[in-house]
Each structure stands twice: as structure tokens, then as C-alpha cells.
Amino acid sequence: MFRFLVRRLLQTVPVLFVILTATFFMVRFVPGGPFTAEKSVAPEIQRNLEAYYGLNQPLWRQYLDYLGRLAHGDLGPSFKYTNRTVNEIIADKLPVSLELGAEALVIALALGLTAGIVAALRRNTWIDYAASSLAMTGICVPTFVMGPLLVLLFAIQLGWLNASGWYAWPDRLLPALTLGFVYAAYIARLTRGGMLEVLHQDFIRTARAKGASEIRIVFHHALRGALLPVVSFLGPAIAGILTGSFVIETIFQIPGLGREFVNSAFNRDYTLVLGTVILYATLLIALNLAVDIVLVWLNPRLKFE
């Protein structure tokens, strides 16, 4: 396992390097720049701005400078937020996105696993149909419909919650529910399928013949096998929750990193684009690795190779 980890970690270095280099040059080749605005900046002011940020240097020079600073963990100053550094912006906003993602994930797992297990155990009853229909709805209804509907009900009609913002804990409920619900739907379907498959296998019959209680059969014997597809799904799902929170962050005005990730590209905030891309790339690689480890742990037939 140790060798597996070392090898995988070594593989990530060139991957990150390629992503970083490609992003650096791609954002520079996009038309427009950080100071392109509806009202044009006077040419001499533009030159001063470029000199201040080192944009008047040859591109290869800027690239090397960036790598040099990156080696010291410095992601540079933001172009749009003149008095903030990219490090500060990430430190400020990543925790918000992580918190939202974690809460959404808890909701997704709690709802999804429960619904999936119950549906499998009560196959072809109204409970199964209800859970499956709900899951289907969750998959079909996009977050930008679900979010405003929840706001309409809980914030505007009932007046229980804020419609948007990130001030106190009740403000977490609607966004986490909106984001979590989609994933709950997928998890429910995967869990149901996995459970049905496992419940038909011989070792479950054996356990049952030995007189094991149903609760023990479900949680001790069946679930471990039934969760394999869910775990495989969770890797990309967590990544999707983290990077895909843009819509939710916009609907609920949440100060998370997902919006910066998208808006930095529109603003041509070169350093912020690079900073967020590097961060998300690292997160994705780490998540995939974690999923591989958990899968081997859950399925004894797999080995670290």
C-alpha cells in the first residue's frame, strides 16, 4: 500500500504541472485582459498598470516568475480585488465552499442511503415506488429550479428562513438541501441497485440460515457490498459538489470559491484563475486517490496495484 501511495503521489506532480502550464498560457491567449473595460483606460494608465503587474514582460518570463512564486506557495495578487492576494481569497472562500459541500454531502448520504436501503428492502411496494419516484424527480429537477422553489416556500411564503446570504446557521439549510438533493437521488438509486444485487447472493442466504437478525444482515453483511457503486460515485460526486457549487452560490448569494472560480475567468483575473484551477485540480486528484483506497478496503478482491 505504501508503494502504491508513493507511486500515485509521484504521478500527480507531472499532471499538476501540465494543468498549470496549459492554464497559464490558455488564459493569456483569450482576447481581452484584466483591465479591458467598457470605459477604456487611458493608454498611459494602461501601461502603468501593466508595468505594475509585470504584464509588460515577455510571456515566458512571466511564466517563470509565476513558477518561482508558486514554489514559495505565493499565488500572487488578484487583478480584480486590488488589495487582496489570491492566497487570501482562497483562504477566505474555500472553507465556505467546503462547509456547504460537507453539509450537502451529509444530506445526500442520509437521504440517499436511507431511501435506497428502504426501497430495496421493500421492493415493489408503495414505499419503493415513492422513494424511486422521488429520486427520479431529484435527478430531473435542476438546482436552479429547486433552489428558487425552496426559497419561495420557506423564505417568502412561510418567512422562516432568509432567501439568500450566509450569515447564521439557518442560512445553510436551503442551499445544502438544494445541492444535496440531486446527489441524494443518485445515491438512492445506486444503493437500491447495489442492495438488490447483494441481497440475492449466497452469503446472505447463509447468514440468514444461521439465524442472523435482519438488522445485522443489512448493516453488517449486505451494506458493505452494496456500497461499492456508491463509493465509486462519491469521488466524482464530491468533486462535482465542490466545483459545481457555482449555481448554488449564485442562487443563494454564498461567498464561496465556486463563484470566484467561474467569475475569475470572465474578469480575466489571471492569478485567480490559476490559483483556483491548481486548487481544484489538486482536490480532484486527492479525491480520486481516496476513492481508490476506500474501494480496495471495501472489496477484498481488489489489491493496491
Binding site: T36, V41, P43, L121, S164, I251, R268
Partner: protein, 543 residues
């Protein structure tokens, strides 16, 4: 298959019920708006977030809306029509040739750390704006001052020769190159606001960008409010300043600025009682508010014009008659009634009819017969012989709808074929800089209360022209107006310049902007103003 009874089956609805009870138990929650009325705390939606609070570096309206609470210039704005009223300067004298302004600073003007606001603070601030390294976007607004442009461009290194002088701590003298009739109004722009030099020095070199002096811990201002909290993308809180010279007149205790990017989200926040004021309103909701809740809907004229630029360096569009025909064939009334629907007015000139003492010529009226005639004279009767033109706009549903309407009007009335091209905003701007378009959707809004804020755009040395059109006669009229002291004669020269502009038609005016927003009935002292500035010291909340 055996069945197990699991408690989880009923867990979900039970959990939802518990949650409901928990929240519902509070009964009617006091909303932010209600608490705000009780405590005189204004909740204002801000549109996109502020990127910076340094008055010398800000560029957007959102930033101006916050910074105007934190700083005050020599003159302030009247809440009803924004005419200049005494600010830090309690009075001023103007020399007979209208070139030298002497401002007398009020002794009670204080920074938020209780230090006196002095004339040398102002001079140091103006010097900072004109420093090359700071690269302040609006440094050009100071060019009206003698030698300011030369100093900013590095042709002059001795700042003492620039027309700013502080004979004593309460007297500030500003010498202009030429008389500028709107000079006092210009002074209300944040580029002219003072900053507290020691606060800047405490946070690093004062003339460098990226300084952190505008953080709540370090910022020092001289406005009616002080910065308490700044959580990016979340909330920005200012509270009443005890050291402000006119603190007795300030009734609001605090303002919470809520940056909300999405207009739909902002509208929902208003309905949920989180905001007294929104920054905008989704177009699709205007009719509904007009019908059901007209009291909260505010539509006010705004000094901005929606227009199309025509690239006069392109074949066919280099023919004035073709351009003029395109200008005359548009039915602007249909566009504002059927598409924009927010009280906008059809633009018959480039300059909106909102400047005191200036009546725009209004030559851009619909005249289809004349348009057809011009096109025929140009050699393209019924559009024959003309290629299809591209209308370029940045990706947005509204721009597309307007472009489609114009496309149909030109096809039907003139037989001119049009293709619609949309691109992402900064790509459009880069295309515009390169003059690589034919017809381009554009917008212009005033920086200060004078028609030259618009007409200067099409001067041949303007960095905002972007049409390839230049005319020495137009430049000469603007120049002559700049040297004319008599207001009526000056207005007449400007009107002649604008007439010429509309006749040459490097642009096609379409409509004059409005601001469309929701205002809670408790907001008092909020007047429609052409620049959408609303001095907070005059606002209070009352049911």
C-alpha cells in the same frame, strides 16, 4: 424476501416536521427590514461586489455607492438633483476669469480618527492620484487643473507647478488651465476625494496599488459613515461616524451593503424582507410589480444611453448616407415598449435630455421615407448591392432581442440584411479596440453632470471613440465650447457639435437608460437623481 422494519422509513418526514416546528415555533420572525426600521439600519442591495474601497482606484457604480458613505470631497451632492453643495469646503470664491477656485475648509471637518481635515491632505491626495505608479483610472478627470496632465504623463516632475496650492491648512487653491463650467460638479467624483496620508503610509507605500489601508482595521475616512466590517461577497457594514462635521443631520445608524450578483436572487431577498433597496429588477418582473405592487417599484431616468457604434472604417459603412439611413430606419418606440419595458425613453440624441441648460438636438428620429431615399442616393436602392452586416453584442438575452428587432426593421424598411453575432463581454471589448466589427452594441453613462461627459466620447483624441470616426470640425466645436464662458453660447456650440455627430452618424442612439429597482416604503429622502447617486446623510427609515 423477508421484510425488516426500519425506523428510517418514517424518519424523513419526521425530521422535516421537527425542523418545521423548530423554525415555526418562533412565529413571525422580525425581518431585517423591520429591525432596520426600528434601529435605523438601511439594508441595500449592491449588485456586483465592490472590488476596492480606495476612492482613487474605484471604477464601478457599486464602489461609488459605498465610498460616498465613507468619504466626502470639497463639495457634496444635493440629494434631489446632485447640484454641488458645501462639503468639506464651507464656501469658495471663484476668480473673475473663472480659472482660480479658492476653497475655505470648514474647521469642524474631521477624519474618523478625529484629526482635522486639512488643505495639505487634499493636495497630498491629488498628488497621489496623479502618480504614475498608482495608475488611477480616473486620473484624467484631474487634467482640467493647470499642469496636471503634464505631471501625470511625466513631462513635468515638479509637483509644485501643478495648479494645487495650500496657502494655509484651511485654504485650498485650485488653478485650472481653462474655465470649466462644471468644475464643482466634477469635484463630487471620488477621484477628487481626500485620503488621510498617515493611514496610507501605515499600510505601505501610499502611491502603490495593492495597499491594504482600506481594510476596516486601518481605513480612515471623512464621510458620514465609517467602515465596520467588509466580508467580500457577503456584507459590507458602515456605521454612523461620530466625528463627521454634520453628524447631527445623519439619521441612519448604519448601512448594510449586500452584494448580490443575481438580480433574481436580489428580488427574492427583497420579498423575504432582507433588503430595503435593490440595485435592479429582472425585466420579466417589471410588469408584475407594476400591476400588483406599484408602490415599491421605482423607475427613474439615468444618465446613460444605449446605442450602436458603426465602424466607419468598414466598406459601405464608410458612406455617411448608409449610416444615416440605418439611423433613421429604427423604430425606437417599439424597442422601449415591447422589449426593455422599464420606462426607458427612445433616444433621439446621444446626450440624454437631463442636463440643466442643454437641450439635445433630437435629430435621430424615425423617418423611413428619408432613410430609403438616402440609401437610394448612396446607390443601394432597396438594399441592393449591400452585403449583410454583423451586429455584434455581448452575450445577453436583452441585447439579442433588441438586435433581432433592429434586424427586422432594417430588413423590412431598407432591405438591409443583418447577421447577429454574440461574444463574451471582454472578447467584444477587445474586438472593439481592434476596430474589428461592423455594428456594435454599446453603452455610455455620464461621469459628471455635463453634456461633455457624453460628447467627449467622439472627439478624435478620445480613448472611447472606437468607431474610426474623426472630424476636425467636431473637435473644434468642442474646443470652442470649452473656452466659452457664457452658458447659453456654450450650450449652443455643444448642440451644434451634437447635431453634426448625429448627421455623420458614427453611432445610432437607441434608448436612454432608467434605473429600475424596488424601494421599501419606509425609505425616506430617496430622490430620483440622474447619476443614481443618493447621499446617505439625507436618508432615513420611517413607516
Amino acid at each position: 424476501m423477508s421484510r425488516v422494519s426500519l425506523p428510517s422509513a418514517s424518519l424523513l418526514p419526521a425530521a422535516v416536521c421537527c425542523l418545521g416546528l423548530l423554525l415555526g415555533a418562533c412565529g413571525h420572525r422580525e425581518t431585517g427590514v423591520e429591525r432596520g426600521i426600528r434601529e435605523q439600519v438601511l439594508h441595500r442591495g449592491l449588485g456586483s461586489d465592490v472590488a476596492e474601497l480606495d476612492p482613487h482606484l474605484i471604477t464601478g457604480l457599486a464602489e461609488i455607492n459605498v465610498v460616498s458613505a465613507l468619504f466626502e470631497g470639497l463639495v457634496a451632492e444635493d440629494p434631489r438633483d446632485l447640484h454641488p453643495v458645501p462639503g468639506v469646503a464651507e464656501r469658495w470664491d471663484v476668480s473673475p476669469d473663472n480659472r482660480v477656485y479658492t476653497f475655505h475648509l470648514r474647521p469642524t471637518a474631521r477624519w474618523s480618527n478625529n484629526a482635522q481635515v486639512t488643505a495639505s491632505d487634499f493636495v497630498a491626495s491629488f498628488r497621489r492620484v496623479l502618480t504614475r505608479g498608482l495608475a488611477a483610472d480616473y486620473a484624467t478627470l484631474l487634467y482640467v487643473v493647470a499642469n496636471a496632465e503634464a505631471y501625470h504623463k511625466g513631462r513635468l516632475t515638479d509637483f509644485a507647478q501643478v495648479g494645487f496650492a495650500a496657502p494655509d491648512e484651511r485654504t485650498l487653491r485650485i488653478t485650472l488651465t481653462n474655465p470649466v463650467p462644471y468644475f464643482l460638479s466634477l469635484l463630487t467624483h471620488p477621484a477628487w476625494f481626500p485620503v488621510y496620508p498617515p493611514a496610507l503610509e501605515g499600510a505601505g507605500p501610499p502611491d502603490r496599488r495593492g495597499s491594504r489601508w482600506t481594510r476596516p482595521e486601518t481605513i480612515v475616512g471623512n464621510g458620514p459613515f465609517v467602515l465596520k466590517e467588509w466580508r467580500p461577497n457577503q456584507v459590507l457594514i458602515v456605521s454612523k461616524s461620530p466625528t463627521y462635521w454634520d453628524a447631527a443631520a445623519v439619521r441612519l445608524q448604519a448601512i448594510h451593503f449586500h452584494p448580490i450578483d443575481s438580480v433574481d436572487t436580489e428580488e427574492r431577498a427583497f420579498r423575504a424582507g432582507q433588503l430595503h433597496l435593490t440595485e435592479a429588477l429582472p425585466v420579466g418582473k417589471v410588469d408584475s410589480y407594476r400591476r400588483h405592487e406599484p408602490t415599491v417599484l421605482r423607475i427613474e431616468p439615468f444618465l446613460g444611453t444605449y446605442f450602436y457604434r458603426l465602424n466607419v472604417t468598414q466598406p459601405f459603412l464608410n458612406d455617411k448616407k448608409v449610416r444615416r439611413a440605418l439611423l433613421l430606419a429604427i423604430d425606437r418606440q417599439v424597442i422601449v415598449e415591447k422589449i426593455t419595458r422599464g420606462g426607458q425613453q427612445p433616444a433621439t440624441s446621444f446626450v440624454p435630455p437631463a442636463f440643466a441648460g442643454y437641450a439635445p438636438p433630437g435629430d435621430a428620429r424615425r423617418d423611413v421615407a428619408a432613410a430609403r431615399q438616402l440609401l437610394a442616393e448612396a446607390g443601394y436602392p432597396g438594399g441592393q448591392g449591400l452585403p449583410a452586416f454583423d451586429i455584434l453584442f455581448n452575450t445577453s438575452e436583452n441585447h439579442r432581442l433588441i438586435a433581432e428587432a433592429v434586424q427586422e426593421m432594417w430588413r423590412r424598411e431598407l432591405g438591409v440584411k443583418i447577421r447577429l453575432v454574440n461574444m463574451e463581454q471582454k472578447t467584444v471589448l477587445e474586438t472593439r479596440r481592434a476596430l474589428d466589427y461592423q455594428i456594435l452594441r454599446s453603452v455610455w453613462s455620464a461621469d459628471y453632470l455635463d453634456p461633455t461627459s457624453f460628447l467627449g466620447v467622439f472627439a478624435s483624441d478620445s480613448g472611447n471613440n472606437h468607431t474610426g470616426w474623426a472630424d476636425a470640425r467636431y473637435d473644434a466645436l468642442l474646443q470652442e465650447a470649452a473656452l466659452t464662458a457664457d452658458p447659453a453660447a456654450r450650450a449652443d456650440l455643444l448642440r451644434r457639435a451634437e447635431s453634426m455627430l448625429l448627421d455623420e452618424a458614427p453611432l445610432i442612439p437607441i434608448y436612454y437608460y432608467t434605473t429600475v429597482r424596488l424601494v421599501h416604503p419606509s425609505v425616506q429622502g430617496w430622490y430620483p437623481t440622474p447619476l443614481d447617486h443618493h447621499p446617505y446623510k439625507h436618508i432615513w427609515l420611517e413607516n
